[in-house]
């Protein structure tokens, strides 16, 4: 009996380790390639440890592609501002739907739920034409404004505020705070766990988005990093050492963010899964 248990455990460990290796190989391969010389890349060796370890690729991407810093900035700016607006606006909407009564609340809520079901391809062409009409193509607001709310997270914040203790607000109301002051000074700071789960997902959504910037940003100066990377690949197609270095630079911020928000990340996924 005991022996069969340990064999069972060994099999489980074997599965876990095997899949961990399968997951890690592409990342390790990319990381090691980013430290290899072009010569080693071209020769096509299969060593995970660079023969001649070099940081030069990381320098070269910033020198060869002058816009690389700009793309990094564009991506960061759009993701940070977009996330901040989402946090505020989704929470405001979630709060109103949970706590306030006003005419049209129910239909609004149903529309928000329905929006979750509509694939973004439907609004792709009309949104492009609308942004063009506004003169918002090749602008930050062209990406940020249409994306500054998110139906999934409005729904999540509504669930959060429904369970939020009313007493806190009542006490503050007696202290003479207006509803809006109350929301920003008392309610929002108490919602930090829910906001954190939201923040990492929204940030990743903006940071990793490929299709919308590809369509809206046609001017190379306004590219975000994923779009820039794709162009960069086109120009330096055999310089995989550069492409991998650029990819690593792009991946690092999200990994750091994940390091900080790890706990909330899992919570967020289980929410999107649990609804």
């Amino acid at each position: 009996m005991k022996k069969s248990m340990s064999i069972g455990k060994m099999i489980l460990y074997a599965i876990l380790i095997l899949y961990a290796v399968v997951t890690l190989i592409p990342f390790l391969w990319a990381l090691s390639s980013s430290f290899k010389t072009l010569g080693e890349i071209v020769n096509g060796g299969i060593s995970f440890i660079p023969k001649e370890f070099t940081f030069d690729n990381y320098k070269q991407i910033f020198i060869r592609e002058e816009l690389f810093t700009r793309w990094l900035f564009n991506s960061a700016f759009i993701a940070v501002v977009g996330t901040a607006l989402n946090l505020i606006f989704n929470s405001m909407a979630g709060y109103a739907l949970a706590r306030l009564s006003f005419p049209g609340k129910k239909p609004l809520f149903i529309i928000i739920l329905a929006v979750l079901m509509i694939p973004m391809q439907v609004t792709l062409v009309p949104n492009y034409l609308i942004l063009k009409e506004f003169g918002w193509l090749n602008s930050y607001q062209g990406i940020i404004v249409p994306g500054m709310i998110n139906a999934t997270f409005i729904f999540m914040m509504r669930q959060f505020f429904i369970n939020f203790p009313k007493e806190v607000e009542e006490a503050a109301e007696i202290d003479g705070l207006t509803r809006i002051g109350l929301f920003f000074r008392i309610v929002l700071p108490l919602a930090v766990p829910a906001l954190s789960a939201q923040a990492i997902f929204v940030f990743m959504g903006f940071w990793n988005d490929f299709m919308r910037p590809l369509i809206i940003m046609t001017n190379a100066e306004m590219f975000t990093l994923p779009v820039g990377l794709n162009t960069f690949k086109g120009q330096y197609i055999s310089y995989w050492n550069y492409i991998m270095a650029a990819s690593m630079v792009f991946t690092l911020p999200v990994l750091i963010l994940y390091g900080f928000f790890n706990r909330y990340f899992i919570k967020g996924i289980s929410f999107t899964g649990g609804k």
Binding site: G8, Y13, I15, L16, Y19, V22, T23, L24, I25, P26, F27, A30, G44, I88, M92, A93, A96, L97, L100, S101, F102, K105, I111, M117, I118, P119, M120, V122, T123, L124, V125, P126, L129, I130, K132, V145, I149, I154, R179, I180, F183, M204, N208, F210, M211, V227, L229, K233, G234, W240, S247, T251, L255, Y258, F265, I266, I269, S270, G273, G274
Partner: protein
């Protein structure tokens, strides 16, 4: 007294709309408005020379799909992709979750490792895989070492789509694994204990307790998977530099919509019609899946 109540009520209504105003603004301008606009576009031929001009063409944009050879190819590719990727990634996710949930040491480490693909952008993942799929790249080296045939993954129409499938199963399964992990916590231990008394081994327990208990979640994961796979774009676009090649083998419906909307002249209306057809297909697939899983759970 009555007056103060109604004043309070009025204030609450004002506050309600104030709090909703950004949402209402975006909903009207970038979601509901565009949906109506998309319907309009799908019945028109749209020209973008200088200003935007529309010419009413009735149902032409919709009937055109049936004569469009590339649309047929795109639908077939997308269909193959959905049929293979969705079940595989769901199965992989459930197996990984059950294994991780077995209470082994180091679970946290494995969880963090498995998460990496979920965090990485589709653009970066596609580039990494293209580098591995290179003719003399890592994948071919490993195949060769194992005595298996090697392929020109990026250039051979026979294998290009399969290469994208493998990559995407690899990158999405861990996301669904996390959803399963959360659900696994909810299965009562007593069920497993009872099965153990009946002499069930781990595989039996997995098939007869874990899988049926997770059925509602599986249904959700399936629908999410369907919606995601039907919309495959980034990977195909980067893989083929926007063309859907080699020989249309990585052309997906959304890539085709993109090409008609932004890369060729006068076909924006047609692209809008294609997008509607895609939305309808996704909706039907979702409803079917829902109905199917509901009927199953009755027995």
């Amino acid at each position: 007294m009555k007056r103060t109540i109604s004043a309070k009520k009025w204030r609450e209504i004002g506050q309600g709309y104030f709090f909703m105003s950004p949402t209402i603004f975006v909903l009207l301008l970038f979601i509901l408005g565009p949906i109506l606009y998309a319907i309009f576009l799908s019945f028109h031929k749209v020209e973008l020379l200088g200003g935007t001009s529309y010419q009413f063409v009735g149902l032409d944009n919709y009937s055109r799909v049936f004569d469009d050879e590339r649309a047929k190819i795109a639908v077939w590719n997308t269909f193959k992709y959905v049929i293979i990727v969705v079940p595989t990634q769901t199965f992989l996710a459930i197996v990984l979750a059950a294994t991780l949930n077995a209470g082994l040491k180091g679970e946290k480490f494995f969880r963090i490792v498995y998460f990496l693909p979920t965090l990485t952008s589709s653009a970066v993942l596609t580039l990494i895989f293209m580098w591995m799929y290179n003719k003399e790249g890592l994948v071919n080296f490993m195949l060769d070492t194992l005595g298996l045939p090697t392929y020109n993954f990026l250039g051979d129409p026979q294998v290009a789509l399969a290469a994208i499938m493998v990559m995407n199963i690899w990158s999405t399964a861990p996301f669904f694994m996390v959803i399963y992990l959360a659900a696994l916590q909810g299965i009562p231990d007593s069920l497993y204990e009872a099965a153990e008394l009946d002499g069930a081994g781990p595989i039996k327990k997995f098939w007869y307790i874990t899988v049926p208990q997770l059925r509602p979640i599986t249904s959700f994961v399936f629908i999410m998977g369907l919606i995601g796979t039907f919309q495959l774009f980034d990977q195909s676009y980067i893989f083929s530099a926007g063309s859907g090649g080699p020989d249309n083998s990585t052309l997906t419906v959304v890539l085709l919509i993109y090409q008609y909307a932004f890369k060729s002249m006068g076909t924006m209306g047609y692209a809008a019609a294609l997008a509607f057809l895609l939305a309808i297909v996704i909706l039907i697939a979702t409803l079917l899946q829902r109905k199917f899983s509901k009927e199953e759970s009755l027995y």
